[in-house]
Amino acid sequence: MDHIVYLDYAATTPVDERVLDAMMPFLRERYGNANSLYALGRDAYKAMEDARERVAASIGASHPGEVIFTSGGTESDNTALIGLATGGGRSSGHVIVSAFEHHAVLEPAEWLSKHGFDVTELGPRPDGLIHAEDLKAAMREDTVLVSVMHGNNEIGTIQPIRELADVAHAGGALFHTDAAQTLGKVDFDVDELGVDAASFSSHKIYGPKGFGALYLRKGTRMAPYMMGGGQESRRRSGTQNTAGAAGFAKALEIMDAERAAETPRLTALRDRLVEGVLGRLELTSLNAAETDTRLPHIANFIIKGVEGEAMLLHLDAKGIAISTGSACSSGSLKPSHVLLAIGCPQEFAHGSLRVSLGRYTTEEDIDFFVESLVPVVERLRSMSPLYAKIKAAHEAG
């Protein structure tokens, strides 16, 4: 591939060269096990604690010990859901998760529902938001945990976490948020948000894959999920990944340092993208368009009368890397649970595209994407047995 226009930063990001530089010593000479007592081990221990302090400072944690390093967003979510629900030996109770969570939250929630817990999936409204009053109505006497993601990975809407956490706390429940898509991209402060736990993933912020963290407020009871040697102060066992921790901390620092300039840049690119796509294609819309609280780098379109994967493959042939909104690549039967949750009709949900921008996206990339998308859509619509009908129905009102 000569020139790749990468527009799938919400799926994963390249490792920033500055992050790689921060990792290299731990892939070379600083190879100690952070739990060994000798100099090389103490050096690794200090590196872990240094990374922990920097992450803690970035997210406004009061104690570095509130940051637990994990193998990624998925592990952080599994640990939070199951660990918080079963913390202190609890084996029943009511758990609320939003219906458009990532599967890394939904699946542990389902596990809980099969192991003694009652689970409610709380739907977002068509604006792509979980509303505090809806959460209030879903709360029960025995609600022990509420988990609502911070920024949605498909449609980019940012949830009113502070309000939701207040509702959960008023009802005596813990509050967890999956912040895999928001960390580093918007201001993130655990005290301002009022959360008890939050999940992060390194490879979404130009850090290495296979690394992440879980914020856990001091004093919060949590059963460890990964059990063994008792690393991470007994809350996450397994030999610590020093290169991962150094890379993740550095990645977060760069996000923080560059955010003030990067956010308006990305927002302008995204607006150019949305204008371009909606201006050039008929029967096309932006999901949850009416909502202002959104991530600067994600735009999710419904393009009626085409199927997402087919668009994706044609764009790929032009060197454009993009994702269908459809979360499951397992076949076209199951469209995105996120789009269905916000009320998108099933037949159109198959025609979604998620475009996500990042550090290396340029105006030229956006323009090239729009120029490439138009003929792809036209071609696919021209071979669709339904498009003429859809258009006629639309024109009839």
């Binding site: 994963t12 076949g331 339904l386």
Partner: protein, 154 residues
Amino acid sequence: MQLYSDKVMDHFSNPRNVGVIEDADGTGEVGNPICGDVMKITIKVDDDKIDDIMFQTLGCGAAIATSSIVTEMARGMSLGDAVSITKKQVAEELGGLPPAKMHCSVLATDGLKAAVDDYLVKRGREPIAGPILSSDPNFDPHEDEESESEACDL
């Protein structure tokens, strides 16, 4: 992600026989927009052989490729042979399909069957294709797939 074979990609990128035969002898339309795949096949029949065949498909890469190849396979075939094409043959002709996409070849064979039966029924003859699974709302095209489907949520 599991890969499409080169032949699938060729048929997806350059689908053969796209379009609608204006004065078709038989038309089959199968699938369901709810499921994301809809296919329409039109045929011209001469001496109980498929003389011309075209398709339109709304669907994923595999749906388009299986539609394309089935039109190539069926062209010139007797009606009886055409309705006997199995989803396995379609997949093999394409050099294989990822397990999660095997159901797409059902769509292609069903579209062809529907067009043949439409031709026969219109002429007052007995349909020969048997039940057309993919138009049954209770049909689960995934039921005979390997369980190892691919990942969600990136």
